[in-house]
C-alpha cells in the first residue's frame, strides 16, 4: 500500500513526511566515501526495489511514532486483544493492583487525574485504530493519518497510550516470570538490567522518560511489538552485511502476527517504510494474475 505524495503545504508541521524515493534521500544524506556512508547507502540500495521512505519527526518519541504510524496506516484489522477487551478499564486495574500510575509523566498539561487521562488516551487509540482500519480508500486513510500526525495533543495521547500498553504487558510478563511460567526471551533481558529489575523501576527509570530524555532500547522494541501483537520488522542500515540487517521485534511470531516495517540507520532514529505498489507485470513483461481468494492455491487433477 503506497500513498500519493502529499502536497508540501503543512509539511513542516507534519510528524511524518510524504513518501519519498529513498535513493535520492540516501544520496543526499550520505554523500562521501567513508566506510559508514558506503555501508548505509548499500543498505538503502538493498531495500530500494521494495520500499519508499517516510521520514518521522526526529524526537525521542520517534520509535513509538513510527510504530503508531504503521499501525494506523497499514493495519488490516484490529488485533484480538483490542477487539475483545475494554482497554479503557486497564489503567484503573493497574492502579488498584500496584500504585504505579502516579509515577507517570505526560508531555502535556492535564486537569484530569493521571488514571483518567490514560483512560482517555486508550479510548482514543482504540477509536482511531478502528477508524483507520475501516477506511474504504487509500486516500481516506492517508487523510486520516495526516489528521493524527500533526504534532498536536492527539498524537501525543496516542503515543502515551502505546507506552501504557508496554507497562501493562511488562507487569504481566514480570508476574509470569516470578511464577516460573514461560515468558519470551526478551523478558529476561528487560528485567536483567540493574535499572529495571521490576515493573516499577522499569517505569520510573526507563519508560516514563521515553519521549523526553530517551528513546526505546532494542529490548523495549520487543516489548512494544509484543504488547501490540505486531511483529516489527526493522531494517537496520548500519548492520548491513550482517545477519542483523533485518531484525524482528519480537522474533518468534513472524508468521502469526501482522508485520510493521521500520527503518533505522543507527538504532536511535526510526523512519517508516512503505511497500512499493507492486507492478501489474512480472519481470518478463507478462501480466500477473491474482489467484482467487477461495479455492486451493495449487491443485492437480487426474484425467
Amino acid at each position: 500500500m503506497s500513498f500519493f505524495p502529499s502536497a508540501a503545504v503543512g509539511e513542516a508541521q507534519s510528524s511524518v513526511s510524504a513518501a519519498e524515493d529513498r535513493q535520492t534521500y540516501s544520496e543526499r544524506e550520505w554523500k562521501g566515501n567513508t566506510t559508514k556512508s558506503l555501508l548505509i547507502r548499500k543498505g538503502y540500495e538493498a531495500i530500494a526495489s521494495e520500499f519508499n521512505l517516510r521520514r518521522v519527526r526526529g524526537d525521542n518519541y520517534c520509535a513509538l511514532r513510527a510504530t503508531l504510524f504503521q499501525v494506523l496506516s497499514q493495519s488490516k484489522q484490529l488485533p484480538a486483544w483490542l477487539h475483545d477487551s475494554d482497554i479503557s478499564k486497564w489503567p484503573k486495574e493497574i492502579q488498584s493492583d500496584q500504585d504505579f500510575i502516579k509515577e507517570w509523566q505526560f508531555p502535556f498539561e492535564t486537569s484530569k487525574s493521571k488514571v483518567q487521562h490514560l483512560e482517555q488516551c486508550l479510548e482514543l487509540l482504540k477509536k482511531r485504530w478502528q477508524e483507520t482500519v475501516q477506511c474504504r480508500s487509500l486516500e481516506e486513510r492517508e487523510r486520516m493519518c495526516r489528521q493524527v500526525f500533526r504534532g498536536h495533543d492527539e498524537e501525543y495521547e496516542l503515543l502515551e497510550a502505546l507506552k501504557f500498553l508496554m507497562l501493562r504487558t511488562a507487569i504481566h510478563l514480570h508476574s509470569d516470570m516470578e511464577k516460573g511460567s514461560d515468558v519470551p526471551e526478551f523478558c529476561w533481558l528487560l528485567f536483567a538490567r540493574d535499572s529495571s529489575k521490576c515493573p516499577k523501576t522499569f517505569l520510573t527509570n526507563h519508560l516514563r522518560h521515553v519521549g523526553f530524555s530517551g528513546g526505546l532500547e532494542q529490548v523495549e522494541m520487543c516489548l512494544l511489538g509484543y504488547s501490540l501483537q505486531q511483529t516489527m520488522r526493522v531494517v537496520r542500515l548500519y548492520k548491513c552485511d550482517t545477519e542483523e540487517f533485518i531484525t524482528y521485534y519480537p522474533n518468534n511470531h513472524k508468521k502469526d502476527w501482522p508485520s510493521l516495517c521500520l527503518l533505522t540507520e543507527d538504532d536511535r532514529h526510526y523512519n517508516v517504510l512503505v511497500p512499493k505498489k507492486s507492478s501489474k507485470f512480472d519481470a518478463y513483461g507478462r501480466p500477473k494474475w491474482n489467484p482467487p481468494s477461495d479455492g486451493q492455491p495449487s491443485i492437480t487433477t487426474r484425467l
Binding site: Y284, K288, P291, S298, I299, T300, T301, R302, L303
Partner: protein, 125 residues
C-alpha cells in the same frame, strides 16, 4: 522453455496423440495436470520460470493412454486439439481434455530435457 523477450526460445515441441480409454463409465487419459492462471505457479516443480502459470503434466500413469502416446512427466501442454492452453484456468484445461464426445486428443507439448524433468520431480519429494 521460459519466454524472455529478445532471447530465442529453445524448446522441443512434441505432438502427442492420446487415445482415451474407457474405464467403466469414464473416459480416462492416464495423466494428471497441474497449473493454470488461477493457481499458484511457485509450487510447480517442473517449470523453469516460477511465474509460469501454464498447464503441466504432473503425473503419468504407467501403461496408460498418455504414456503410450509419448506424454512425459513435466511436459507443458501448449494446445489441446487446437485450443490454446497457455492462458487458461485449471478447470478450463480440465474441460478441454475431458470432452465426452472426443475419444482422441491431440496435444502440443514442450519438454525440457528428460534429466531436468526427473531431477525437478525428485526435488519435490
Amino acid at each position: 522453455m521460459s519466454f524472455i523477450p529478445g532471447q530465442p526460445v529453445s524448446a522441443v515441441v512434441q505432438r502427442i496423440e492420446i487415445h482415451k480409454l474407457w474405464d467403466g463409465d469414464n473416459l480416462i487419459l492416464g495423466f494428471s495436470i497441474g497449473g493454470g492462471i488461477d493457481q499458484d505457479p511457485s509450487q510447480n516443480p517442473f517449470s523453469e520460470d516460477k511465474a509460469d502459470k501454464g498447464i503441466y503434466v504432473t503425473r503419468v500413469s504407467k501403461g496408460g493412454p498418455a504414456e503410450v502416446a509419448g506424454l512425459r512427466l513435466g511436459d507443458k501442454i501448449m494446445q489441446v486439439n487446437g485450443w490454446d492452453m497457455t492462458m487458461v484456468t485449471h478447470d478450463q484445461a480440465r474441460k478441454k481434455l475431458t470432452k465426452k464426445n472426443e475419444d482422441v486428443v491431440r496435444l502440443l507439448v514442450t519438454r525440457r530435457s528428460l534429466e531436468d524433468a526427473v531431477r525437478q520431480s525428485m526435488m519435490q519429494h
